[in-house]
């Protein structure tokens, strides 16, 4: 079957098997940030945005994305680097394999709520597993990022 979607801002068409999963589709199209950590929708590593909402691309058929907008970390490089730097400053990226899914979902959280509190952070990201960090360093990184963002927006408001 033929599908058309906007992947990271570029319109693409492809002929695919009806049972192709979105994760395999985006990887086939060069989006190698999208990782597979399980086959039971438990790990969160394969998180991408489908029309701006985070979904597990291992549990979505590529055909479902027909006519829609798909975003992976490849399409959010500036945001990823800006936020990721705070994770890196904690050493909490560790092996890095869960990072793209975790960062995608964290960016989705910040879009839904600009300054989430600790419980909201933990709740929203509960589906993003990490075996290296014990999550504590990720939490410190998120909180440092939010504090920096708040300070920055305060300054911008003052200047304006």
């Amino acid at each position: 079957m033929n599908i058309t979607m906007t992947l990271n801002g570029k319109k693409i068409s492809a002929d695919i098997d009806a049972d192709m999963l979105l994760i395999d589709f985006v990887r086939d199209h060069g989006c190698y940030s999208v990782k597979r950590g399980c086959e039971t929708s438990n790990c969160g590593l394969c998180t991408v945005f489908l029309d701006e909402k985070p979904v597990l691309s291992c549990s979505v058929l590529a055909a479902r994305a027909d006519g829609r907008v798909v975003t992976t970390l490849e399409g959010l490089q500036e945001e990823a680097a800006e936020f990721g730097a705070f994770i890196a400053d904690q050493g909490a990226e560790q092996c890095g394999f869960c990072n793209p899914g975790f960062i995608m979902n964290a960016l989705a959280l910040f879009r839904e709520k600009e300054y989430p509190d600790e419980d909201e952070i933990k709740e929203y990201l509960a589906g993003n597993l990490c075996r290296c960090s014990g999550y504590e360093g990720q939490l410190r990184g998120i909180q440092a990022f939010l504090a920096w963002k708040k300070e920055k927006s305060g300054k911008e408001a003052e200047e304006a």
Binding site: D17, Y32, S33, V34, K35, G37, C38, E39, T40, N42, C43, L45, T72, L73, E74, Q77, A80, A81, F83, G84, A85, I87, A88, D89, Q90, G91, A92, E93, Q94, C95, G96, F97, C98, N99, P100, I103, K122, E123, L125, A126, G127, N128, L129, C130, R131, C132, S133, G134, Y135, E136, G137, Q138, L139
Partner: protein
Amino acid sequence: MKYVNKPVRKKDAMQLVTGKPVYMDDIAPKDCLIIKLLRSPHANAIVTSINKAVAMKVDGIEAIYTWEDIPQDGRRYTQAGQTYPEMSPYDRLIMDRHVRYVGDVVAIVAGRDEKCVDKALKLIKVQYEVLEPVLDFHKAKDNPILVHPEDNWESLVPVGADNKRNLCAHDETGSGDIEEVLKNSDVIIDHVYHTKACQQTMMETFRTFCTIDTYGRLNVVSSTQIVFHCRRILANALHIPKSMIRVSKPRIGGGFGAKQTSISEVYPAYVTWMTKKPSKIIFTREESMTASTPRHEMEVHVRLGASKDGIVNGIDMYTLSNTGAYGEHGPTTVGLSGHKSIPLYGKAKAFRFVSDVVYTNVMSAGAYRGYGATQGLFAVESAVNELAAKLHMDPFELRMKNIIKEGDVMPAYYGQVNTSCALDRCLERVKKMIDWDHKYPVRDMGNGKVRAVGMGMAMQGSGITSVDVGSATIKVNDDGFYTLAIGAADMGTGCDTILAQIAAEVLDCSIDEITVFGADTDTSPYDSGSYASSTTYITGKAVEKCALQVREQICKLGAELLKCPESEVVFDGRFVKREILKKTQDEGRSGAEAVLASEKAEDGAKAAENATGSAETSDCVQQVSLADIATASQCGNSIALEATVTNSSPLSPPPFMVGAAEVEVDLETGEAKVIDYAAAVDCGTPVNPNLARVQAEGGILQGIGMTLTENITYNKKGKLAENSLMQYKIPTRIDIGHIRVEFESSYEDEGPFGAKSIGEVVINTPLPAVSDAIFNATGKRFYELPITPEKIAMAVVERKQKSE
């Protein structure tokens, strides 16, 4: 120190957080044959016939291999990544007619894509003669059913192994008269502690791709911690010369010891060697859960004798370890259960440690962070916590009376001296951090929930004594930047970065001026690999020594360029300076920079003057920049600006740790949640405090998972129930309150800048600490992990019934 003990960002951090393609499946050639494995549904069976004719007809299938392709009388091998001769027995063939656990490999299928391979897998017809399995590890030793009856089973090292008794290893060791000591003790704690075959569960499953290189050699790119051991393992498995194999690793998505065993490498290696085509295998999560090498299930029987004032007089330990169908790491892990738990108690007058490691028809066990020490420390520390309760003594106070001190000889730790130790400070620190005096033992929160605390201590090693080898090659490149080549494997731990920090400290340069390369058997200097908490201590020391040698080489060439004896120059990281002149004539003219380009450089490359642009001469200070030396080294030069140093250690200085858990238990539902975990670590100098802290936090949460949720259950036919992340519950971020880690550093003279190790010790304290908190919450002691809500709820009900 400028670069050591600094929380610098990991060198690869920004690449990782922005999702760059640096892992095995991101860089594998797109035309790789896809490999999948047909696995046995039986725990013990002989393949009587196998028909692949129909499967071979599936469009796209390249090859199907079965036991019939593998000489069954050929020499066996082990998948364990260990120094040769391996302690683990040679008990595997690539495929064996005799399958020994549910998941053992029956056929290798290689084809164009996943679809055709999946289809072919279903069309292979296999008939089995199903045999009765040995599933109960208590009954394995001397059982008439043998897991390895074959005659070409081989044990290379005398570890007490005997395949005709289902024994992978047996050992007895001790010091003093333990029976006499126990007889004269006022209190005896006597229990058996059971831990399961928990999974490392790194996020990236096992995976490898192979190609044939320009020279017809097998090029293996794998997510592995052990490139050099892997080369030997593949040579042994395929019966081809090691010279025909190259193994390298890309970024690794976590290891925790799982990738210290060559789980996935042999299949693409075989397929590519046979077909001469690129191939790859990616284990599914289910395969990683059911056909890998998790922690050894162990039962540790402790008899601990103490005086009534709380002095531990002696420990008698018997460990029964279940190595499963194959012996990977079987003979070695068991040793740590005693050797890395008993030595904590420095006043003991005697110990005895006896162990059996048995074969059974379940998945093989292997290496997982802690490597037996985790199991032994759960037993010993739980026994000591029980002793404290029995004597109505505070567990911290009891520890303070007993712990090993710096300078003590440790009879149960191979007689080594405890060269650096801040265990006492760790105890004091954690007691304050958790606010023990207010929280011990338990507080009723008035809502059906109670909050209780518990604690435990731990030790580990830093590399394997007189076995592990670490090496470093450093070379100076144009412009004066350095390349550091290592054979150690950064699996997310950050060793590329901390080794660069050590080099930067010695070379007086920023870590950005050091590129790190590892690991590749063709180009890296030899390293045993990243395991046994060895990289910082063993390879780190090699880097330190190597950087010192490179400094000497820089000075040698610098002196030649300055036309003076080497003894007269110093290197400050940017310039080689002739100091004598400086000292005598430098008065009042400090800051004046002068570069004396040597005749040699002028004659040769004209390098110095071209490169510096400030070829101003002066008679006060003679100096030549590193960049100029580097440039000069590339023209008409015979002095190598490069050094390789190899390091091993006759010591394995233990890191120490104390942890305390505050656990909230819901007495209605049995749910237990660690709301606060406080820990203090003595890893010597933390080379990178951020990375050391995250290592500790991650290890602690793995230990908590092992204590509370990570269960392993087999059915009567030997099939594992917990075969996905759905059933095998590793902690999520809502399962934990906070983990707080602080450092109480000793200084280890033998380590690089005082460092010991951090990687493994961190997983050990939660098991006894959380268990004891649950005892304090419920009044029930659990001797088997995990302590699930069901177990807690039932214990609460039983206690109520008893009191009624």
